[in-house]
């Protein structure tokens, strides 16, 4: 009996994992990645596996395809349609892959080979399993592309990956996964690399496919909003073990385990704990203006005759002393560029930008340098923003070394105080950056930015590389320090919920222009611009009931636009 003829009735398990243990062999010894995991996936079910980084969620789900890194050792059983994927090798394993189970990767731009057409890449899987003509395979590829909602699939089947947008590329990856109508799709963070508005579309597509084709989907994610949006059943993993598994509604409304509760509590929820709650006007409107942009333009020249790119196009904004200005936007909106231009890392090309009274249009490193001690900067990736060869103490002392010539012992005392201020033990001064966790490094990064007690702090997505529970703690620290030291801050983020929690005044950027500005609670509750409305509606909230209403709202907005 062939697999295609096997009709899986409702309730039958497509995937069953029994007592799975995985270790990774490293120089430092064996690192346990997965411990005693049991799970089932039924036909037509969407199972979400959530957990923070290092929880073993990806490693577990990938065993369904028989994928395991070369230094991994697995024990247990992974039955896919009754066959143990852990013991299969070579041809029988390849026979299963693509036909019975397929995978959707996180980053669509690297999952597709740039030198082949998308049609070729979809056909590759089809022709590996069925001896059919090229013409027939192409017809199937076109069919698959139509299914995932790519317009004009007949023409676009011959396009190359770079001719598609990020969201469409992910649709192509999904089409390739669907081409052979597998019973199970494993989607590893399929929307993490995408903007929220695109994320909403991809999630809608996955849900549709499940309803139409009855494909079981295992979705791996760290985003509780995504889980609330799409999952039927949820498995929470922590440190390689399953903490809790429950139907989605039950998990969100009545979590049983302490870990699940703390994880849910750490997720920023749009519209709750707004920094500007109850405010009617800009609280800092009367105080000194630290940054003032008028018609600011930042243009990056193209290469050799290619047209350049205007990242920031005529933006007006003011940051007053002591206030937190939140700048939100999707990738490519120019939010990071504005932050970097204020810090003198990018050159502006038009308009006017005054930073602490200094006109950046006439930027000269030598004349700007004395002002640098008034400006702190926190970078997105805490792992990359420290010199790996210097200790944390040396890194934090760097601004003191450059601007204040204190003695060695005075510097050391000051570094100790700074570390204490960001709630790190003073002993961390002697450690190297790689010996700290992501959250600890970002605290040290805050300490470095605040070492000279700056008037202005620029925080460029300071928490987006962190897990939610760590993010919550870092944000809390940021809030406390801001209240205590009273510095002004430009807080740049793609996450509306985070921005609203921290900043009173919020600006929404879209393709280099500032669409709207206002009190955080007002902008989020009553967005004026179409784009802001879509952006807010697209952000999934960690509450399945509320999320269902929001989904209806996006569909309505999409209909209006059509």
């Amino acid at each position: 009996m062939s697999h295609a003829a096997t009709v899986t009735s409702e309730g039958e398990n497509v995937l069953r994992i029994e007592n799975l243990n995985i270790d990774f062999v490293t120089d430092a010894g064996a690192v346990p990645a997965v411990r005693g995991v049991d799970l089932e996936v039924k036909a037509g079910e969407i199972l979400a596996i959530v957990g923070e980084s290092g929880s073993g969620k990806s490693v577990t789900a990938r065993t369904a395809l028989g994928i395991l890194a070369e230094n991994g050792a697995s024990h247990g059983a992974v039955y896919l349609n009754g066959k143990n994927m852990l013991t299969l090798h070579g041809a029988p394993l390849r026979e299963m892959r693509g036909k019975d189970v397929a995978m959707v990767f996180q980053e669509p731009s690297t999952a597709l080979n740039p030198v082949f057409t998308v049609g070729w890449q979809i056909m590759e899987g089809i022709r590996a399993h069925a001896k059919i003509s090229k013409k027939e395979a192409k017809a199937r590829a076109i069919e698959a592309m139509r299914q995932v909602g790519i317009p004009d699939p007949e023409q676009r089947v011959d396009y190359y990956p770079h001719q598609f947008s990020g969201g469409q590329k992910q649709r192509v990856v999904i089409a390739a996964a669907l081409a052979l109508k597998p019973q199970l799709i494993v989607a590893d963070e399929p929307t993490t690399a995408l903007d929220v508005t695109v994320q909403a579309e991809i999630l809608a597509l996955l849900r549709e496919l499940r309803n139409e084709l009855g494909t079981a989907i295992v979705i791996i994610t760290h985003n509780m909003g995504v889980v609330a949006d799409i999952a039927d059943r949820v498995i929470v993993m922590n440190q390689g073990k399953i903490v809790e598994q429950a139907p989605a509604l039950q998990l969100f409304e009545a979590p049983q385990e302490e870990y699940t509760r703390s994880l849910l509590a750490a997720v920023p929820h749009l519209g709750r704990q707004s920094a500007s709650e109850g405010m009617e006007e800009r609280p800092a409107a009367g105080s000194e203006v630290l940054v003032e942009a008028k018609e600011l333009v930042v243009h990056f020249p193209g290469r050799m005759g290619a047209p350049g790119f205007t990242a920031v196009n005529g933006v007006d904004l003011k940051i007053h002393a002591g206030e937190v200005y939140g700048l939100v936007g999707e990738s490519g909106s120019g939010k990071t560029t504005i932050g970097r231009t204020i810090a003198g890392l990018n050159k502006m090309t038009g308009g006017s930008l005054k930073v602490l009274g200094y006109e950046m249009a006439n930027f000269k490193e030598r004349t700007f340098k004395p002002l640098r001690e008034q400006i702190g900067f926190v970078f997105q990736d805490p792992a990359a923003s420290f010199n790996p060869h210097l200790t944390i103490g040396e890194c934090v002392a760097e601004p003191l070394m450059v601007h204040r010539q204190l003695g060695a012992s005075a510097t050391r005392t000051k570094v100790g105080q700074l570390l204490e201020a960001v709630q790190l033990p003073a002993g961390f001064a002697d450690r190297y950056p790689h010996e700290l966790s992501g959250g600890q490094r970002q605290r040290a990064s805050l300490a470095r930015a605040l070492a000279l007690e700056p008037k202005l702090l620029i925080a460029d997505e300071p928490t987006s590389a962190l897990d939610v529970s760590v993010q919550a703690k870092v944000l809390e620290l940021f809030r406390e320090l801001q209240a205590e030291l009273g510095f002004a801050a430009l807080f740049v983020s793609h996450d509306l919920a985070v921005v609203d929690q921290l900043s009173t005044w919020v600006g929404v950027l879209f393709r280099g222009t500032l669409l709207e500005e206002g009190l955080g609670s007002k902008v989020l509750a009553n967005p004026q611009h179409d784009y802001t409305q879509r952006l807010i509606a697209s952000l999934p909230v960690p509450d399945p009931r509320e999320q269902a209403q929001r989904r209806a709202r996006i569909e309505e907005l999409n209909r209006q636009q059509a």
Binding site: A28, G29, R372, D381, N387, H389, E435, R448
Partner: protein, 325 residues
């Protein structure tokens, strides 16, 4: 993970030295390659350092108290590897050849390392016209066949000098000129990549001066791959020296022993069935180059976790140890 990194920090400094740490990481075939390379290289270094103790005669000695040495004597007896047409002992000359080779390697690699790294650092970080000129210069040197350039340099520098010092420095400087672009290129590319890293930008927004950024933040991060180029260039330096000697631009046999020169002399012997004058210096070159290359390649593979392989035995041992813990 936390305990793993801590225990690493407590390891003695000796275990962190390049080659020793590589040896600890390796297993299976990779370890075999590394160990073989280390043995050949160690043999080479020992020969160079203890040449006067190992060699029975001096490199330019063609007679002793009992009179002149026989010419082109076959291996065996008093001369274990035979003698050359000029009556030199092949074994002694081969052993002393290591001394010349190591002097040239050290001088060439050290000079090109310092100049190349400094230029690459400045050129990569500051950019602008200096960078453009340096890149064009480096490309121009690349465009020359390196041996031809070395010949020209050796004529310009030594002007026919043939003393040990003059000959070694001529060879070393000519090799240096050829190698500077390599170090320059590698360091420049690495610096250009690092320049966009947040930790460099964070130093810039603090207001650090370019010199501070270059020497505190960039230098140590940009020179990670250098031990590898160092070993690979050492072999090239050796081959260039042998090539110069073979073509007759080397060191006179009375100033120092040099393998390439000996090979050149052995050419006419080979046709008349005298194999020992060419075989031993030739083997010395091959084994030294092989040894240094194996060390370099193994270090390259072991530095990259994706290329590092665990043998089945070692993987099993580690998983079992982990299972018990």
């Amino acid at each position: 993970m936390g305990t793993a990194t801590l225990s690493k920090a407590n390891q003695s400094w000796a275990a962190k030295l390049p080659i020793i740490s590589h040896l600890r990481m390796s297993s299976g075939l990779q370890r075999g390659m590394l160990v073989a390379g280390l043995i050949f290289s160690a043999l080479f270094v020992i020969c160079a350092v203890f040449a006067p103790l190992i060699a029975p005669y001096d490199f330019a000695q063609s007679s002793d108290a009992n009179g002149d040495f026989p010419r082109q004597a076959a291996p065996g007896g008093q001369f274990i590897w035979g003698t050359t047409a000029s009556g030199y002992d092949v074994f002694s000359r081969t052993v002393y050849g290591a001394q010349t080779a190591i002097l040239v390697i050290i001088a060439a690699v050290v000079m090109s390392l310092f100049i190349g790294v400094l230029l690459g650092l400045i050129s990569g970080y500051l950019g602008g016209w200096f960078d453009r000129i340096m890149v064009v210069l480096a490309d121009a040197i690349y465009a020359f066949p390196s041996l031809l350039l070395a010949i020209v340099m050796s004529i310009v520098i030594s002007q026919g000098q043939s003393s040990l010092y003059g000959g070694v420095m001529a060879a070393a400087i000519s090799i240096t000129v050829v190698f500077i672009p390599q170090y320059f290129r590698v360091v420049r590319a690495e610096v250009m990549r690092l320049k966009a890293e947040p930790f460099v930008e964070s130093a810039q927004v603090i207001g650090s001066s370019p010199w501070r950024v270059m020497f505190t933040h960039l230098l140590r991060n940009a020179t990670r791959t250098l031990p590898l180029i160092f070993t690979l260039n050492a072999t090239e330096a050796l081959l260039t020296l042998a090539g110069l000697g073979f073509l007759g631009f080397g060191i006179e046999p009375t100033s120092a022993s040099e393998w390439g020169y000996d090979l050149n002399r052995a050419m006419s012997d080979a046709t008349s069935g005298i194999w020992w004058t060419g075989l031993f210096p030739g083997l010395a070159i091959v084994l030294t180059v092989l040894g240094l290359t194996l060390v370099g390649e193994s270090m390259n593979d072991l530095n990259d976790p994706r290329l590092r392989r665990f043998s089945r035995k070692k993987a099993k041992r580690i998983t079992q140890a982990g299972g018990k813990a």
